[in-house]
């Protein structure tokens, strides 16, 4: 992980930009996080709009999480932002958009063509980034995953044992095969649903919530469209992570973090 810039925000949060194997990313740590006082980590998921465009929303989530004692980190998604283009993904997205704008039903094949390659490529990248984040002495774990493309969150929750809790946003198209993966998720889940999300099938979101195998899962549905998540819903999500990432054993043994 090569740090490319670092700045201290006015609330004491340290923001570092980095690249990792050519992938740009951002890391925020609360003031006071150190080798002797390592903090839990929340991976911040985001849509495929590029980190630059998502920055205002990401830094707001990072500051809010830091105030509760969490480090946060994110990496650019494949084909997004400053990363090399991914023509096949762009074509799949354009095809899907065209169908939706024409009022045609969205086919399973077109959802699969957009989401499944993205999940397959992104998830190992997030796992490699997690290795790097947890190698920093000021980050101790445990680790949560929050938001972004929900299928990436589902796959990560299934394959990555270091993730102990996930906050998911039922706001993107979900391939049918992800419902099977959802049944294998067992970590506590906090699922946000915007009741009138224009780009989202509400019944599919409810079916997906029902499918999750987790013993503890809660659904918070609020009024409004995709970008209208109320502030109190964001606060409830942070409280979910506080319940599950604080006061539990860190990823590394205690002898290693002291």
């Amino acid at each position: 992980m090569q740090i490319t810039s670092a700045q201290r925000l006015d609330d004491g949060v340290l923001e570092r930009a980095f690249t990792l194997g050519g992938i740009p990313g951002l890391l925020w740590t609360p003031e006071g996080a150190s080798a002797s006082a390592p903090v839990p980590l929340i991976l911040l998921g985001h849509p495929t709009l590029g980190l630059r465009r998502m920055y205002p929303r990401l830094v707001a989530r990072a500051r809010h999480s830091a105030a509760e004692g969490f480090a946060t980190a994110t990496i650019e998604l494949p084909g997004s932002g400053d990363r090399p283009g991914w023509p096949a993904l762009d074509r799949a997205r354009a095809d899907l958009r065209r169908a939706m704008q024409a009022g045609e039903p969205v086919s399973d094949e077109s959802v699969d063509a957009l989401i499944l390659p993205l999940v397959d490529k992104a998830v190992p990248e997030w796992q490699a980034a997690l290795d790097a984040f947890l190698s920093l002495p000021e980050i101790g774990g445990p680790v949560g995953y929050s938001g972004g493309v929900i299928s990436i969150g589902i796959r990560l929750a299934v394959v990555e044992p270091r993730i102990v809790a996930a906050g998911l946003f039922a706001g993107s198209l979900v391939p049918r095969t992800m419902f099977e993966e959802a049944r294998r998720v067992t970590v506590p889940l906090h699922v946000l649903l915007q009741w009138d999300d224009e780009g989202n099938d509400r019944q599919a979101a409810l079916d997906l919530f029902d499918a999750f195998g987790s013993k503890e899962k809660c659904l918070h549905a609020n009024m409004g469209g995709h970008t209208g998540v109320p502030q109190f819903a964001g606060e409830a999500a942070v409280r979910f992570f506080t319940r599950h990432l604080k006061g539990v054993r860190a990823v590394r043994p205690a002898a290693d973090v002291s």
Copy 2:
């Protein structure tokens, strides 16, 4: 309102039992509530099991609310507890129970026969009780309604302008006509749904949530059966009332409460 007993609980909460027009009730006020520092009020709804049987759960909700600065109050439902029996209601309940235990579909008529007379009789009683509660100098408003038979909460939210926010529990049978009343509810709503509630139709609960006319409404769905509401869900409900009953104008003009 005739106070029949009063005791100070160990956390300083004042618990008073009363009767009002022959209806027994309970009132809890936080330590420090006074004519010069009147507090908002939450009406505590409950099922038709009688106040005596519900007391442990009611007092827990009252203490939790008092810790956030709210008075709470409740009255016995018609036909329940120490109030005179209501044979027609008992028959309707027995008929419904028999049908459910026999695995028969629950008819609209049988739900109507149980719920509608109860709502018609209970709601004016709660309104009269509210008059009495708000006449106490230490209770200033605003007023919220929380829990209990959801159809009573819906009707109260429609007909009682002093109720400015309602926390409802999607845990009882709802007559079809209440869906029409739900459309006329405009106050902020916080709806709890137990995802695996054995006595509740999940799809009907989701349809009811969709029907509410309120611009701000949130649904919190959690795992487990009817009585398995997790502690954090109760805390979220209190936070909802804090958002809506604190820092807003009291029912009585400021000149009247000082």
